[in-house]
Amino acid sequence: MKVTVKHWHAVAQWRWDTGAAEPEGGDADNEDVCGICRVPYEGCCPSCKIPGDDCPLIWGECTHVFHMHCLLKWIGTPASKQQCPMDRRTWVTAERKIGNS
């Protein structure tokens, strides 16, 4: 017997490729959240309504990842001293090369 697939309407979820190893089984509870707003990366920051490309992530040299809007807002405050909120190193946006490298 030969099975020929003519058309496949599949369903998939997208995820940010944060470079972190994909959690096996994809448990809903231990997924990565933005360190600033505590919303999952695949959700959107508090000021956005549409997730995904409209509310992208930003990667730091320090390997921390945030919602871009969250981080920019943080950097915009004088108290931030341009530091990463997680490790207090000066924030340097990393070139995106994780994942497909």
């Binding site: 017997m1 030969k2 099975v3 020929t4 697939v5 003519k6 058309h7 496949w8 309407h9 599949a10 369903v11 998939a12 979820q13 997208w14 995820r15 940010w16 490729d17 994909e22 994809g26 809903a28 509870d29 505590r38 999952p40 695949e42 959700g43 309504k49 549409i50 997730p51 995904g52 490309d53 992208p56 992530l57 995106r96 994942g99 497909n100």
Partner: protein, 738 residues
């Protein structure tokens, strides 16, 4: 020993009496002529048997001049009262003649039930009355005394059977079967029957009205009957009433005045009858809505005259309880009846007091049904196959209205109707959807259910069906007006995912054509989809990987995670003697893919071949193929591929009746899932703090982000956890079971 004084007194009396009778005639000639006159008069007045022709004749031939002269003389001697007394006495004595007659007629009537007999009886009685009447010259007093005596005697001897006959006679005057002389009323009047049997005659009228209303209005709801009934009253009943209630009226004006009182009584009775009728029919009237508008307008008008509002409420509540609010009724049916009730009662009673009273039990019942929300939401998005939507398309779409407190600055403000209960809330005419949504305290439940439903519908859309997505979008836009923009933000994202998927797919296909066309969803914005451990085997796996790679090239910072159990596969099977082409769910596709490698598989092999799947689901998928004649279950749990179709294809074995499992978990399930999330918190606090009472757990959980469960829900969850052996509960406290 009479004294001289007494003696002289008696003598004076005697003299006076003699003088009166003798009237200064010489000797006793006056006395003689008086006694002659007395005899003539008494003979004339003597009540005769009119059945006896001789005596009747004697009476008829009496010399009227002589009789008049005789009466004149008696009157002059002031002996008329005595004469009258004698006359009345003799009437009483002779009355047996009439009684005999009445009995004869009634016996005849009982036998033949012929109204004509009654009719003749009445006239016979009138004949008796006329025959015995004293002459006119004696003045009205005597005549009145005579009439009274005659009637008293008559009523005292009328047997019970007469009433029945009389009623029948009255009925026949109303419904002229046989032509009855209109003078019958004069006869009634003469005999005093009208006054005596007034109630009975009126009841004849009432019964006629009732009969007519029932006959012409029952189950006729399409147009108002009231107008027609009024017309009927004025053409049928009023003329009938005229001779009785408006006797002696000289012109129509006067007659109208006389009829006013009794007429309004009859009109009231008509209203009441119609009202009762409609009240008993109200449930079916509501079912028939809007084809029963006429009946509703009737009812509205009747209720203004007749105070039957409470009985209407009672009747409707009773009918609802009996016919609607029971497990046998479909939720959708209850909802549509509820909506119809709202619309109907709003017509009958705009302030909404009736509605409030009737709706309360329905709402309470609906709140207890598990699928009420789902039904309402399904209706909102037009999921109905039947097409009769609860919502009137013409009704303007408006935001959900919150119950507002009364605005006393409103110039059109009206006080609450007097029969409004203490908890009556002014239900300003809000739209139907608002009313339905207000069954529940919060609209969040609706939004959640809406989301679930939308997810189901969107995932069911296979691509190149963008107009369906457009339709959903339109729906959501409409719903946004109702529920508010913010509440439906999530749905917006879901719709955007649909269009984005299409765009992305378009791009990916242009880079590298693939037969995979996925819908890519934003996981946090879709209701939790059932997870599954299926791993698609063989070429499917390859297709997935390939597509995912292409996707990542297009969107370098994103990855795809497949939800292999969702979607549909269109595939073609090439067997030795036939080809089969069809759409199947992914699990079915996965199994058949396995069979392309090997012809015989056992159930367990198959299940592990797709990476672990529920046994029931697996069996169902396999049976799909068995039904199609592609597989055969030779030995139990062992399936063989039929390269060559077998002669006698086994009769299609219907798959285990497991209803199409919803791919998206319902809101209830979600709630349980959510609760599971909080299990970690509970576990933590019970580990650190030992046994805790339920309230304490609830208080602490409140600190957890997004926790919105009630104590009852928590209690239910803890109970479930106890059943699973995770915790033990003792004395109202919970601790971990270890």
């Amino acid at each position: 020993m009479a004294s001289a004084a007494l003696r002289s007194q008696v003598a004076a009396k005697w003299q006076e009496g003699f003088a009166r009778l003798n009237r200064t005639e010489p000797g006793i000639s006056g006395l003689i002529s008086f006694s002659q006159a007395w005899n003539i008069a008494a003979d004339y007045l003597h009540p005769r048997d009119i059945t006896d022709p001789l005596s009747a004749k004697a009476h008829g031939t009496a010399d009227m001049a002589l009789v008049k002269a005789a009466f004149d003389m008696i009157n002059r001697s002031r002996r008329l009262p005595v004469m009258l007394e004698t006359f009345l006495d003799s009437i009483c004595n002779q009355y047996y003649l009439i009684a005999r007659d009445i009995h004869r007629y009634l016996a005849q009537y009982e036998q033949s039930a012929d109204i004509g007999v009654m009719f003749r009886l009445i006239y016979r009685l009138v004949d008796w009355y006329r025959a015995w009447a004293p002459i006119e010259e004696l003045g009205p007093t005597i005549r009145a005394a005579y009439t009274l005596t005659f009637q008293t005697q008559l009523f005292s001897i009328l047997p019970p059977g007469f009433v029945r006959g009389f009623k029948a006679l009255c009925v026949s005057t109303l419904v002229p079967v046989v032509q009855i002389s209109p003078f019958i009323w004069d006869a009634f009047e003469t005999l005093g029957l009208t006054d005596r049997y007034e109630g009975l005659i009126a009841s004849v009228g009432y019964e006629r009205i009732e009969a007519y209303v029932h006959e012409t209005c029952t189950a006729k709801w399409d147009e108002p009957c009231l107008e027609r009934l009024r017309h009927w009253m004025s053409t049928q009943i009023v003329p009938w009433m005229l001779p009785m209630y408006a006797k002696g009226a000289l012109n129509t004006e006067e007659a109208r005045g006389m009829l006013q009182n009794v007429g309004s009584r009859f009109d009231f009775h008509m209203n009441k009858t119609l009202c009762d009728l409609r009240t008993s029919e109200i449930f079916d009237i509501i079912i028939d809505f809007p084809d029963s508008m006429g009946a509703l307008y009737d009812l509205k008008e009747c209720l203004q005259r007749v105070d039957q509002r409470s009985s209407l409420v009672q009747a409707l509540r009773k009918a609802n309880r009996k016919r609607l609010l029971h497990p046998g009724a479909d939720t959708k049916l209850i909802l549509s009846q509820y909506v119809a009730t709202i619309k109907c009662l709003r017509i009958i009673d705009p302030p909404g007091v009736l509605l409030f009273k009737v709706a309360d039990p329905i709402r309470r019942y609906l709140r207890e049904r598990p699928d009420t929300i789902r039904s309402i939401v399904a209706n909102l998005v037009g999921d109905d196959d039947s097409g009769d939507s609860l919502v009137d398309e013409n009704e303007p779409i408006q935001p959900l209205q919150q119950l507002e407190t009364e605005d006393y600055n409103d110039p059109n403000w009206d006080p609450e109707p007097i029969d409004a209960g203490p908890d009556f809330r002014t239900n300003k005419p809000s739209d139907v959807i608002s009313t339905l949504v207000s069954i529940y305290d919060s609209k969040d439940l609706f939004v959640k259910e809406l989301q679930v439903l939308l997810a189901q519908r969107l995932l069911a859309i296979t691509d190149d069906n963008s107009e369906k997505v457009e339709k959903e979008r339109r729906n959501i836009e409409i719903l946004k007006i109702r529920f508010g923009e913010a509440a439906l933000q999530v749905c917006e994202v879901m719709l955007k995912d649909m269009t984005d998927s299409k765009r992305i797919d378009g791009h990916v296909q242009s880079q590298k054509a693939s037969i995979v066309h996925p819908t890519i969803i934003s996981r946090h914005f879709w209701p939790s989809l059932e997870s599954s451990d299926i791993v698609m085997p063989g070429q499917f796996q390859a297709l997935q990987t390939e597509y995912a790679k292409e996707f990542s090239t297009f969107k370098p910072d994103k990855k795809l995670r497949w939800l292999p159990h969702l979607g549909t596969v269109h595939l073609e099977l090439q067997l030795e003697d036939r080809t089969i082409e069809m759409d199947v769910p992914p699990l079915e596709a996965a199994f058949i893919e396995l069979f392309s490698a090997k012809n015989v598989w056992t159930m367990d092999e198959l299940i592990s071949g797709v990476g672990g799947v529920d046994r029931v689901a697996a069996l169902k998928a396999l049976l799909t193929w068995v039904d199609l004649g592609v597989l055969k279950e030779d030995v139990e749990n062992t399936f063989r591929l039929l390269e060559v179709q077998e002669e006698a294809a086994p009769p299609p074995r219907s798959a285990p009746a497991a209803a199409e499992e919803p791919t998206v978990t319902a809101a209830q399930q979600q709630q349980a899932d959510q609760m599971r999330l909080y299990w970690k918190f509970i576990e933590g606090m019970l580990t650190n703090l030992g046994a805790l009472p339920l309230d304490r757990i609830q208080t602490m959980l409140r600190f957890a982000p997004g926790y919105d469960q009630t104590v009852e829900q928590l209690a239910g969850f803890m109970e479930a956890a106890r059943r699973e052996g995770l915790v033990v509960g003792r004395d109202g406290t919970w601790k971990l079971n270890r």
